[in-house]
Symmetry: C2
Subunit: 321 residues, 2 copies
Amino acid sequence: MAVYTDITEDDLSRFLAAYDAGTLLSYKGIAEGVENSNFLLHTTKGALILTLYEKRVDPNDLPFFLGLMHHLAERGLSCPLPLPRSDGALLGELSGRPAAVISFLEGMWLRKPAAKHCREVGRALAEMHLAGEGFAITRPNALSVGGWRPLWEKSAARADEVEQGLEDEIAGELAALETGWPKALPTGVIHADLFPDNVFFIGDELSGLIDFYFACNDLLAYDVAICLNAWCFEKDGSFNLTKGMALLAGYESVRPLSDAEAAALPLLSRGAALRFFLTRLYDWLMTPPGALVVKKDPLEYLRKSRFHRQVRNPAEYGLSR
Amino acid sequence: MAVYTDITEDDLSRFLAAYDAGTLLSYKGIAEGVENSNFLLHTTKGALILTLYEKRVDPNDLPFFLGLMHHLAERGLSCPLPLPRSDGALLGELSGRPAAVISFLEGMWLRKPAAKHCREVGRALAEMHLAGEGFAITRPNALSVGGWRPLWEKSAARADEVEQGLEDEIAGELAALETGWPKALPTGVIHADLFPDNVFFIGDELSGLIDFYFACNDLLAYDVAICLNAWCFEKDGSFNLTKGMALLAGYESVRPLSDAEAAALPLLSRGAALRFFLTRLYDWLMTPPGALVVKKDPLEYLRKSRFHRQVRNPAEYGLSR
């Protein structure tokens, strides 16, 4: 659930005067985004999203995030488009916070996606990877392989509270990934958090991608591995091969994976599972009881990590070769 | 802040099929309403509000609330209009809760209303009082004079925690109001909670009234007294006579107060101040620390109660005679 910074109609109207956004008719704080305060605006020119960036977002990253959305939207990807101010800037300030006005994307995220939706997600991810080419700003991925050990060291001593033997198991897995992590695969801008709640559909049609606030430069195939983790497992922990096939076929219909990328998929998927396991484990152990954050179960990603460890061939994800 | 019941796109689309509401394009949980979950919907036919009634609302009251909005809107008052289902009902069920679809009212509530806005509020309140005539269902006011003693008895023993001497002061005030409360004034449907956050404006134009979930049958002039309390005091506790004059003149431009109503205004205003003092005191004393509710300071209404007690003449509120 979002933090809400209340804003007055006067302040907002004055802020909007710097945009070609029409006259303000209404604004509502919406329950979306964990890191920021978001408002849905109606103006005489239509619907917009106003985002106030709260403390958890580094202001130095905002030119990357907003510039990227602008870059992707200009290249035809369906994603929210930041509106420029009359001075050309994509970022302003409201209620003492960095703030941006972004086009409103119609659509809904799917609580129960099917294989046909996974195909659309794969296709959109590949389109994003191509559209990201030529974007001038770079942002390293703080949550890739180099970031996992410092994160793990904050939780390791208490890991066995979650499951007996976990400290040894994760230490081994982390060492194996650090040793084997591929270095020569194609890189580019990745979304890095393309979970179902960040992909909008109207009916069965994908209407767009949102929430680029984890986007960064990294291995493109690592983004595919994140999506395999996020979209292709069932609630009972089983891997749905039909969904895997659909997601990978959708991706390859736009951007075929190289042989090296395909071969790395099991390892990259282990890495993606560990990355979400580690952040969830940290939140699980460190969040005080009664806090406003919904704690997600780290064991979901431990189970996925174990699944990936026994995969020997990318065909087991549904990759056709 | 609202409680959020999450709903799936499938369930919502199926629920909406019973309405002439177009095709669903998006829905967002919004941070409005303390008692209910509210969603802002976009459909091919425009914007709508979906309300899920949570536990704090008595389902037996819903036909009154929804029927009243329908009655008022049909008589030309600008307020949200519940959409009928294909079977004519105003109420359905979604995610195990009573649910209604209501027209979306553009506009914003004013964080800093001025006298000109108070005039519009007075006018709209009187229009609501006239438009309410002929509404067939009745709902007694559980928070009028008869309800104050049971409420007070839950907090009285701890009142001195808030301010020394408060138990005696409020006991005396409550007894005085019970003895002197007028019985022969005109009655009708009152809003009973017309605070600034329930009145929408676009620019300086009042665009409508919302949140009829405290509406009930009671003395019409008591509703005026509630508005004097809600709109005409400054942050420092002082009464703004210019705002009082504007609010009362706005009201009387549509529905002039009788001499008896005018004479009762100081007592009714004391009653309204006590009513909000008592609910706030109760919440203040009973809400566990760390709960999700914003506790409003009961002392604000204690100060208003003391102000009203020294008023001798309705002219002191700005009533012209």
